[in-house]
């Protein structure tokens, strides 16, 4: 399937993860020209582990050594991790930022922070309010144009945010529960039709937000130098892109305002973010 500008081929020793992907990604286009950018493979560590206590190893064009296998019940999560891994390790066309991103009127808001900051949940909630979801995990900065390209894969919702989104989007499609993962209980949410339809359309970066969940409401302007350093830490390929990465990031932080927001609950955060954009 194609997600934003990147095409993927996923192969598996088991039928089930593929069936789940086919179902959840059924409205996504195929890779351009039938040539995917990346290959992901889900395979058994040992031949007999296809059948006996199946353990899913994540492989593909690019892999990290010593990654722990996942049980077959988490095969969908393994496929998603495999696709993320290809992007994180090998994306070289765009500066990759670990950020969620939503767009309205051609203007994109990037939200980045540590795990648990709420970037996936906030992006999904804003999608429910009519924003286009450009991605809950990665935002791609084009070094040539400075525009943001989306990567609207399935939204990975963790723990309490699953129920929050089921309440906010009762009609939406969700993947099978992925329980007891290393990051808690996960459930995948299919982005809405408008977000999928517009996934190849880039947007102008309008605001960079650093949300933090669980604190008193607070808001602080972040100067470009600090934004630069924070985003180098949020990028997996900043170093690998060399001068192109430096130029792209410099252009982004000097042309786009950045704000850190602390929030006690999602409703507050959404008011804060929408006031900025």
């Amino acid at each position: 399937m194609r997600i934003g500008p990147a095409g993927f081929r996923v192969g598996s020793d088991w039928r089930r993860p593929i069936a789940e992907l086919e179902n959840l990604y059924r409205d996504y286009p195929k890779p351009e020209d039938g040539v995917p950018d990346f290959t992901v493979r889900l395979f058994a560590a040992r031949p007999w582990r296809r059948f006996v206590r199946p353990a899913v190893m994540i492989g593909g064009d690019f892999t990290i050594p010593d990654a722990a296998p996942l049980p077959l019940d988490l095969g969908l999560l393994a496929a998603e991790m495999g696709m993320n891994l290809q992007m994180a390790l090998a994306q070289r066309r765009y500066l990759l930022l670990h950020a969620s991103c939503v767009e309205r009127n051609g203007r994109a808001v990037l939200m980045t922070g540590e795990s648990g900051a709420g970037k996936s949940t906030l992006a999904a909630l804003m999608m429910a309010r009519g924003w286009r979801l450009m991605g809950d995990e990665f935002a791609l900065v084009d070094p040539e144009t400075g525009l943001i390209h989306g990567f609207p894969r399935l939204v990975s919702l963790k723990n309490e945010s699953v129920a929050v989104m089921q309440a906010a989007l009762p009609q939406a499609r969700f993947g099978p529960p992925q329980l007891k993962t290393p990051k808690g209980d996960i459930r995948h949410l299919v982005p809405d039709a408008a977000s999928i339809a517009a996934m190849a359309v880039p947007a102008v970066a309008a605001h960079i937000v650093f949300p933090r969940f669980g604190l008193e409401r607070a808001i602080r302007e972040v100067p470009p130098a600090e934004t630069f350093v924070r985003l180098t830490q949020a990028s997996t390929n900043y170093v690998a892109l060399g001068e192109r990465g430096f130029d792209a990031l410099t252009r982004l932080v000097t042309s786009v305002p950045a704000t850190a927001i602390d929030y006690p609950d999602a409703a507050t955060a959404i008011r804060q973010v929408e006031a900025l954009a």
Partner: protein
């Protein structure tokens, strides 16, 4: 096997004109698995192909170019660390190819920085690198002791700020291997390539590549190694070159490895060459990559893993080594 597609595309780039989407997909996966995507990208640049493939290969060229810049910078950092104590930096493998502007370096993936240092300067060199910010990677005392006693290089060092690895060699084969290359002759024959950096002589650089491939290790990365050899010989060939190369290989005790490298690189990438029956399993191992980038032919892979170790050390020592590694949880082929 898709490794064959890769070899065909490198030998005759125009052959990609016939590839369909599935062919391109398999070719790209095999090239990535063999860490030859940058080489392939340069080789087929400008030929008609699907736009998606062209974009992937554009990225691969840009990525290789950035890799080249980073590799040259690492070489310069090592030179700055070693220059004050008068130890010359003799570059090996990929970094040498790009520093010298050789065809073999075009688009080549470069991992670690490999350098050769005269054995009697090794301790000083190690101290100078540690003082300049490199640190030990192997926390395991068995591995560390093993390297220092038996290997042709120091345990790998990694730079604490740049996160880049350096392999400091004092010869080109483990001390436990049967052939004993003349390390002093390697150093004495090194040639300056500018900016205070050196590389092995035109003969020794090919001998090193052949030694690395056939007298040490399990043939992983063999297609790339043979491509290096193919390019080096193509660029260095002149009347008398191959004779000098074989003579020099004799001196290092590596003539069989060099002859095999000449045959296999010709067979794969050149005009063809007659193979010996013993070359056949090598070809089988080298072409084991499928269209998903997987190494098939596990038996062949394991056979060459064992062979690599048997070449590296006598059987009793090998048994002890593998037993120690097994107990530590290491598994050779997964």
């Amino acid at each position: 096997m898709s490794a064959r597609l890769l070899v065909a595309a490198l030998r005759d780039p125009a052959s990609v004109a016939e590839f369909n989407a599935a062919g391109w997909t398999a070719l790209i996966s095999a090239a990535r698995a063999e860490q030859m995507i940058g080489t392939l990208a340069h080789r087929v640049a400008g030929l008609p192909m699907p736009a998606a493939a062209a974009r992937i290969l554009d990225d691969a060229r840009a990525s290789a170019e950035q890799g080249r810049i980073a590799a040259l910078w690492e070489a310069e950092m090592a030179r700055r660390a070693l220059a004050p104590i008068g130890v010359p930096v003799i570059l090996l493998k990929g970094t040498a190819f790009v520093a010298a502007g050789l065809e073999a370096g075009r688009g080549r993936h470069i991992g670690d920085l490999d350098i050769l240092v005269p054995r009697d300067r090794l301790e000083e060199g190690e101290a100078a690198l540690l003082a300049a910010g490199w640190e030990w990677v192997k926390p395991d005392p068995y591995d560390d002791a093993y390297y220092r006693r038996w290997m042709h290089e120091l345990p790998p060092l990694i730079h604490r700020e740049r996160d880049r690895m350096i392999d400091v060699h004092h010869t080109i084969l483990p001390l436990t291997a049967a052939p004993t290359p003349d390390a002093a002759a390697l150093v004495a024959g090194a040639v300056e390539i500018g900016c205070g950096l050196f590389m092995l002589s035109r003969e020794d650089v090919v001998i090193h590549a052949a030694a690395h491939l056939f007298a040490d290790g399990d043939l992983a990365g063999g297609l790339r190694n043979l491509w290096d050899i193919h390019c080096l010989i193509g660029e260095f060939d002149a009347p008398g070159y191959v004779e000098r190369l074989r003579e020099r290989a004799q001196l290092h005790g590596l003539l069989p490895a060099v002859d095999r490298a000449l045959r296999l690189s010709q067979w794969l990438y050149g005009a063809g060459a007659p193979l010996t029956p013993i070359d056949r399993p090598f070809v089988r191992r080298l072409l084991g990559r499928d269209g998903w980038g997987r190494q098939r032919r596990k038996v062949s892979e394991f056979g060459f893993y064992l062979r690599g170790h048997l070449l590296r050390m006598p059987p009793a020592m090998l048994a002890r080594h593998l037993w120690t590694k097994w107990r530590k949880g290491y598994r050779p082929v997964g």
